[in-house]
């Protein structure tokens, strides 16, 4: 399968895009289940990173974006396809990159300066030069005066500055960032992003290109020249967007907001309607037309990993806002990133309590009823919708009805789930189903015996949909 890089023309770019640094060619990655079944995480991903550009990898959890970054860094081997650094395929850690971690990954027993020097020490740089270069990087990144502090003494923002200094001191061709701001509070993250933009635009940082993984849409639009939007399970490149706005970018510019809305639309699965708004290059995921949607099963329709209470909260907010609002506005108001918000949206949509229209969320009549009901009624409503629309919940409830004593061991369901999920995912699906089933009083779960029991009050919900 060939994927053409059909990015929209980029006339207004601050930097000129130079030679390709990293080239990923139809990279696939699958992890193997204990029973030997391969689970695809990345599917045929091709992209390149060239000198002078910032590229963002954006996706929900489960899109394999961090896995892709680690393939690019040469930390894990792709199952198929190749990653090449300046034309040479990788067989080990990528020699031309430095990495910035979400959790900073600073060694707590080394001072700021020692942490920054470590990468140079690894390259065998003599002590005097090491010192000089480290101090320069520390200076550049605004850590002056903290050279002899230990990471423990620093705030999160300052720690990530150390992470930046440690990465740029080795003057990498490509700077790889794995959700670098998501462990920071909103203001600190904003401050650090702005400084990164300043360094990049001022050509001060000795870095030729940046690849950033994020689940924050605004962050991607703020920073990147190109955004690669990944779909989930398995991760594919769903769309590629060129962001042609000059940096620093204004969050409230209409153009900015329209790009954010477009991305929301793409992520909630309505990208075709939104494409008209902006130059979007769609990646057809396969050459053949998609077959008719198969009947939902626990395998092809995973439960969004959310609690029923969280979803009820979302619907209440939506009802209070007049039943319809933009996803970006809701996320903004709640200070949520897409990993927080989209699973809730997915759950509400799955249960038929809300619907998406582009980047807007709309409550349905069922959803209004659910949001307005008292606790007992809302639980009954939830049970009915879950049995009707959540395949795993329905499967468990029906299997329990079919057995004589209305109990089943969890191993029965785990075995079934492992046909389509990794062990952890299967566990997570089951835990979510337990949570939903308990909330709806459909079935209970005994953790000591690892056993499901049908709740006697489950019959109305089950009969209602039979």
């Amino acid at each position: 399968m060939s994927q053409s890089q059909t990015a929209a023309p980029n006339p207004a770019q601050a930097r000129t895009v130079g030679p390709v640094i990293i080239e990923a060619e139809s990279v696939t990655k699958s992890f193997t289940n204990p029973d030997g079944r391969a689970l695809p995480v990345l599917d045929a991903i091709s992209f390149s990173l060239a000198e002078g550009e910032i590229v963002a990898l954006l996706g929900k959890s489960g899109s394999g974006k961090s896995t892709l970054l680690r393939c690019v860094a040469g930390l894990i081997a792709p199952s198929g396809g190749t990653v090449a650094y300046r034309g040479t395929p990788l067989n080990g850690a990528n020699p031309g990159v430095a990495m910035i971690f979400q959790s900073f990954a600073l060694l707590p027993w080394l001072t700021v300066q020692q942490n920054v020097e470590l990468g140079l020490q690894a390259r065998g740089v003599p002590e005097a030069e090491r010192r000089e270069r480290a101090l320069k990087a520390i200076d550049l990144i605004g850590l002056d005066g903290f050279e002899s502090a230990y990471p423990k003494e620093l705030s999160g923002g300052m720690r990530q500055r150390v992470g930046f200094a440690r990465a740029i001191v080795v003057e990498p061709d490509a700077l790889l960032m794995d959700e670098p701001f998501s462990a920071l509070d909103v203001l600190t993250a904003e401050n650090l992003r702005n400084e990164l933009v300043g360094l990049w635009e001022g050509h001060e940082a000795p870095v030729k290109s940046i690849l950033i993984v994020t689940h924050n849409i605004e962050e991607a639009v703020l920073l990147a020249d190109r955004i690669l939007v990944l779909s989930s399970n398995p991760g594919r490149i769903k769309a590629e967007l060129a962001v042609e706005l000059p940096r620093p970018r204004d969050r409230h510019a209409p153009r900015f907001e329209s790009i954010v809305d477009t991305v929301y639309g793409i992520l909630t699965g309505r990208e075709d309607r939104a494409t008209a708004a902006i130059a979007v290059a769609e990646h057809p995921t396969d050459g053949v037309p998609r077959p008719a949607r198969p009947a939902p099963t626990p395998i092809n329709t995973p439960l969004p990993v959310v609690s029923p209470g969280g979803m009820a909260g979302l619907l209440e907010i939506l009802a209070a806002r007049g039943g319809e609002d933009g996803l970006a506005e809701i996320a903004d108001e709640l200070n949520f990133e897409i990993d927080d918000l989209l699973p809730l949206v997915d759950a509400a949509v799955m249960l038929g309590l809300a619907g998406t229209k582009g980047a807007r969320l709309e409550i349905t009549a069922d959803g209004r009823e659910f949001a307005a009901a008292d606790i007992l009624t809302s639980k009954q409503l939830f049970a009915r919708h879950a049995v009707a629309h959540a395949p795993l919940v329905r499967a468990i409830a029906q299997a329990l009805t079919a057995t004589e004593d209305h109990t089943l061991r969890e191993g029965f369901f785990l075995d079934l789930l492992r046909r389509g999920y990794s062990t952890e995912e299967a566990r997570q699906q089951l835990e979510t189903a337990i949570d939903w089933g308990r909330y709806g009083e459909l079935f209970d779960y005994d953790r000591d015996d690892a056993e499901f029991t049908l709740d006697p009050s489950a019959y109305p919900a089950l009969v209602g949909t039979a």
Binding site: L75, M99, P108, G119, A122, D448
Partner: protein, 556 residues
């Protein structure tokens, strides 16, 4: 099943290290007793301390090599970890005669062999725990650290020295301290030993006590006990406390621990010139090491490995290991058949049941006594601060020093050692239960206690629903350690003598002790095999389940 076979093969292999039975008898390379003049005590104390610290250094080096190999080499791990597990459950004290003869043979005509055997015995008391702890820290290293190290292209040595060792420092130090405490017992037991009907004694505090016990001189036994207490406390205050306080700098957690271990000695050291004086000459060493180890390459492994080659290697490796184990079992079987026959196993198992009974009674009684006391201490922070160091010293103190006192009491009261041995075994092992219960009780969050109090949950209900479940995980840890210690102690506790009095109990410990004295290798093999069987079976069938329950349900 495989574990059982591996134990048989491994023990038989160790046994073959010793010279053949009919070889000319061991030369009398060491005196059979030491001078009883108390003026020699400082010298003896230093000799004993040197032995302990050499064993500690060897244990640390062993830990680095063994744990790193187990964590980094996929195939080696499959062998190294089970072997470590076996070594940990085998009562090493019973193997003293084998190691002593092996080491004496290694250095014929010199005291060095005996010295090595003693250090080896102490080493076996320290190494396994530390190795497990370091291995665990290696495999549970945060993933980003591993990734950061590889992206930064650290060399193998840099990775080990800058990341692996500091990351494992805290568990290494704490386990080292606990193991060091347990090792005093082995020091006392291994300095003066009678092997193959021959008494050996190395200059040391343990030998001094043994001599005093043999002579029935209560005053000198008392002096030895006092010196021992000074040593245990001194090493704790001057070495382990500063070390634990210092190791706090290696804590990975983001936030500071609420109560950090403190040490006055460390504060003094920090303020002195010592760190700079020590640091200056070491710096070039560090630079040199960094340069010398560079050719060993990066801490990196190739991404692409041919699955066929890997699979073939695995099969070959598994084949070799299986063959070795099978050969060992076969040889061991032949050895036993040709010497005393398999019937001896029945006898040993029956004796093992007696010792097993003692261990069970010991655990039950120690639980009933120490759990309430431990909870009381742990829930009163003021008492905890005073009691914890004391309990630590009690746990470290080699109980075999106290045996003569107990012997006198038993003789006077006409108590049979069959019962009395329980008390002797408890002298050393019960403290682990107390120690852990204190730790567990003091770790109960205060808001939980306040909630229980405000709900008026007290009396029986408070114990049943709150306190006992909350301390359960720590109690299980203490119970496992106590049971292991009790089995090991049975080897020295089921036969005791003080002056003219000789007492003995029927049990597997006495069986092994007899076999050791007589150099009866087949009986040693059988005795240790049976004891390992009891220990492993108890661990698998009972403690492991308790542990799982503790982890899943009662973890706070």
């Amino acid at each position: 099943m495989v574990v059982g076979a591996a134990i048989v093969a491994l023990l038989y292999g160790l046994l073959r290290l010793a010279p053949a039975l009919n070889a000319p008898f061991l030369p009398s390379t060491a005196p059979s007793t030491v001078s009883m003049d108390p003026a020699n005590l400082p010298y003896y104390a230093i000799r004993s301390l040197v032995r302990m610290f050499i064993a500690l250094i060897v244990s640390v080096l062993f830990t680095f090599v063994y744990a790193t190999a187990a964590a980094r080499l996929r195939r080696a791990e499959k062998v190294l970890l089970p072997v470590l597990d076996i070594l940990q459950s085998v009562p090493v004290l019973g193997f003293l005669s084998v190691t002593v003869t092996a080491f004496i043979n290694l250095f014929p005509g010199s005291e060095l062999g005996l010295e090595c055997a003693s250090i080896f015995a102490i080493f076996t008391a320290m190494a396994w725990n530390m190795t497990f702890a370091f291995h665990y820290s290696l495999i549970s290293q945060p993933r980003e650290f591993d990734e950061a190290a590889r992206v930064m292209r650290l060399t193998k040595w840099q990775r080990f020295w800058q990341l692996d060792v500091p990351g494992g420092m805290i568990p290494m130090v704490w386990n080292g301290m606990m193991s060091f405490g347990g090792a005093w017992f082995f020091l006392a037991a291994s300095e003066s030993i009678s092997v193959l009907r021959h008494q050996y004694a190395l200059p040391g505090i343990g030998s001094y006590a043994a001599a005093a016990i043999q002579a029935g001189n209560m005053g000198q036994v008392g002096i030895a006990i006092a010196v021992m207490i000074v040593m245990v406390v001194g090493v704790n205050v001057l070495f382990w406390r500063p070390l634990t306080a210092w190791s706090e700098r290696f804590r990975v957690e983001e936030s500071e621990a609420a109560e950090r271990p403190r040490s006055l000695v460390l504060d003094l050291l920090r303020r002195s010139e010592v760190p700079r004086l020590v640091g200056r000459p070491l710096k070039p060493v560090g630079v040199a090491l960094d340069r010398v180890t560079r050719p060993f390459g990066l801490a990196e492994h190739p991404l692409g490995v041919s699955p066929v080659r890997e699979r073939t290697g695995d099969v070959f490796f598994a084949g070799v290991i299986t063959t070795l184990i099978a050969y060992g079992v076969w040889k061991a079987g032949g050895y036993i058949r040709d010497t005393i026959g398999f019937g001896e196993f029945g006898h040993a198992f029956a004796l093992g049941a007696a010792t097993f009974g003692r261990v069970v009674v010991l655990l039950a009684v120690a639980t009933v006594i120490w759990v309430p006391i431990g909870v009381w201490i742990g829930m009163n922070p003021k008492v905890t601060r005073i009691a914890q160091p004391i309990v630590q010293v009690l746990a470290s103190f080699p109980a075999n020093f106290l045996f003569p006192l107990a012997t006198i009491v038993f003789v006077a009261l006409h108590v049979s050692l069959d019962i009395g041995a329980i008390l002797l075994m408890a002298l050393g092992s019960q403290w682990y239960i107390l120690f852990n219960v204190i730790a567990g009780a003091s770790a109960i969050p205060s808001d939980l206690r306040e909630a229980m109090t405000s709900l008026r949950v007290d009396g029986k209900l408070r114990w049943r629903k709150f306190i006992l479940p909350a301390i359960f995980p720590s109690y299980v840890t203490g119970g496992i350690t106590a049971a292991g210690g009790a089995w090991n102690a049975s080897i020295v506790a089921e036969i005791v003598s003080y002056g003219p009095h000789n007492l003995r109990a029927a049990g597997l410990g006495a069986y092994i002790a007899d076999a050791t004295t007589n150099g009866d290798f087949p009986k040693i093999l059988i005795g240790i095999l049976v004891m390992s069987f009891y220990v492993v079976a108890l661990n698998r069938l009972f403690w492991r389940r308790m542990y799982r329950l503790a982890e899943t349900r009662y973890a706070l």
